[in-house]
Symmetry: C2
Subunit: 341 residues, 2 copies
DNA sequence: TTGTAGGCGTTATCAA
DNA sequence: TTGATAACGCCTACAA
């Protein structure tokens, strides 16, 4: 049986109260008593009993919150599943988890949510932060007030967040290239459509893709690398011009949304049987095109884990006082074909 | 705050003891009292507090055991990680988890382990069962004695096990075909090497592969489907003959072990740049051949989850009294390329 | 058939 | 600076 506070107290010839004070670094303990207790703990190794802890702290239920942005919508349900699951695991410890989904990409709205959460007394926040200085400042403010923050899906620079949980986008881009390389002939021409060069995650996917391309002996060439802002109309126009200028095009890599436009343009040019598409995420428009045989592979980012992991990290840190092992937790690069959707 | 036994007792005008008796279906409760208590529980919904439960039952620590077979070796460390992780999640509830790895494929040895575990008083067993009647009978015996059993990795027919956790092998075979279809030209010839036609999981992989092949418009043809008993020597001989008889061979699908022999034969025939190999699992010989560019894809089966999930299921069932949602839990069909290993 | 008391390990409060 | 005590919710044993 593990060491308990009572036993330590007995061994150190003090009361349980004193041991408690030492363990929690509370004031009003003589150096002598403190040393004796610490020595015993050091030698025998004390691990607090979580069940007992939970029983006591149950009254002041720990509140966590998961804050999602709307452009994140495709995954919301999978992320929620992850959160739910983690919540079920921890609710016996008196943890409450609330989920907030905002409807705009407006930083103001996210700030309002954070204000509300602070008022409600959250102890931990898992957030998909909107990239802007206001949010950075607000997050740091919350952290100073003792609220712990984990970012997920998109990271944000300049905050003291505990850690980040999300995909290694560069790696994902590399994998995308490997897939492409495997499914088109040597020396093929491929087009690349990037969501936005201003978004770091898409940047990184491109970087990975291009890095592998440069190092590859496959002779693949990119005919163009263009932004589509996740928009179908832009994708459509881009692919139309790809096809017009390159009748021998063999592949297209799409880092973000707007695949439907890609598919439509290919069909219109009657190139849909010749051009193979690789995309990201497992969302309805992608699934549709996979069924049509146009998208051959899509790369998922394990939204379930993106929901579950941050909650677990907050729980470990706040309740068990175990800090996260790393600062960045990568979720898998989840390759899918039609059959494995 | 949730409903507690004391509150129920108060509401029903009985003592906590009586409520406890009702909840646990213990004898010595008058019908009247029982009905009153049940009515309240029914109306207000009682969920026992796990922390409190754990605190009390801590003395008689629940023992679980995970029993692995040796041919399962490649994954042992990942499975262990999953088990460890689940254990860490539950140890605060007084659960102990022990891991047993046997060294032979001998049913006798597995039986001995089961005997030992029974003597030690296990309450739950997660097992990779050796397929034989003796084991079936023994498992059913254990179940009758109140020990709950979950199979993982390989299922076994004829037992009352709670459920099975493992890969959907037929689906994996289908995915393997999709991959093959994507990386070799239309109308290509491909070879298939199956571990053993007597092993259900490899059977199923083959079934999936062939099913997709029949339905496919890609025109792929199998030049041969042969067993290699996971042996490199046999693989070598098979591939040598594949190559000799089919200089235009484009792909090989290997359902099990023995990939090194495949690679050696291809190199010997100088076909390693022309023939693309697809394999299963993420093990050292596979990784080596992926680095050499011979294996293009390998399909993992998420051993981590195969370790974690059974422990979670046993915990939910035995401690929380929540039966598993399904009888079969499929772990992912985890497609990997070199970069995503 | 029913009720009561004690204890699991921790924390918080009050008294010494 | 310390120690004692009650409380969290549940279970077991024993008393009524």
């Amino acid at each position: 049986m593990a060491l308990t506070i009572s036993k330590i107290a007995e061994l150190a010839n003090v009361s349980r109260g004193t041991v408690d004070r030492v363990i929690h670094n509370r004031p009003n303990v003589s150096k002598k008593a403190k040393d004796r207790v610490l020595k015993i703990i050091d030698e025998l190794g004390y691990t607090p009993n979580l069940a007992a802890k939970a029983l006591v702290s149950k009254n002041k239920g720990l509140l966590f919150s998961v804050v999602m942005a709307p452009d994140f919508n495709p995954f919301v349900s999978d992320v929620k599943k992850g959160v739910e699951n983690a919540y079920n695991e921890y609710k016996s410890f008196g943890v409450e988890v609330d989920i907030e989904v905002i409807n705009t990409l407006n930083a103001e709205e996210q700030l309002k949510i954070l204000d509300k959460l602070e008022r409600q007394g959250v102890r931990g926040i898992a957030i998909v932060p909107i990239a802007c200085d206001l949010i950075v400042q607000r997050i740091n403010q919350l952290i100073e007030k003792g609220i712990d923050v984990v970012t997920f899906n998109s990271d944000i620079k300049g905050t003291n967040r505990l850690c980040f949980v999300g995909q290694d986008n560069e790696k994902a881009g590399k994998v995308a290239f490997e897939l492409m390389e495997n499914i088109v002939p040597k020396d093929s021409k491929v087009g690349v459509i990037i969501s936005s060069l201003n978004l770091e995650c898409h940047q990184n996917r491109l970087t990975g893709f291009v890095a592998k391309l440069s190092a590859s002996k496959s002779g693949l060439k990119t005919v163009a690398i263009n932004e589509n802002q996740d928009k179908d109309e832009l994708s459509y126009d881009l692919v139309m011009s790809f096809c017009k200028n390159n009748p021998d095009l063999k592949g297209i890599y799409v880092t973000g949304g707007g695949v439907t436009g890609v598919g439509n343009a290919l069909k219109e040019c009657n190139m849909h049987n010749k051009v193979k598409v690789i995309s990201h995420d497992i969302v309805a428009p992608v699934i549709k095109l996979m069924k049509e045989g146009i998208i051959k592979f899509t790369i998922g980012q394990d939204p379930y884990t993106q929901g579950a992991q941050p909650v677990k990290i907050l729980f470990d840190y706040i309740f068990k006082k175990i800090p996260p092992e790393k600062e960045v937790f990568y979720t898998g690069v989840d390759i899918r074909t039609l059959e494995s959707l």
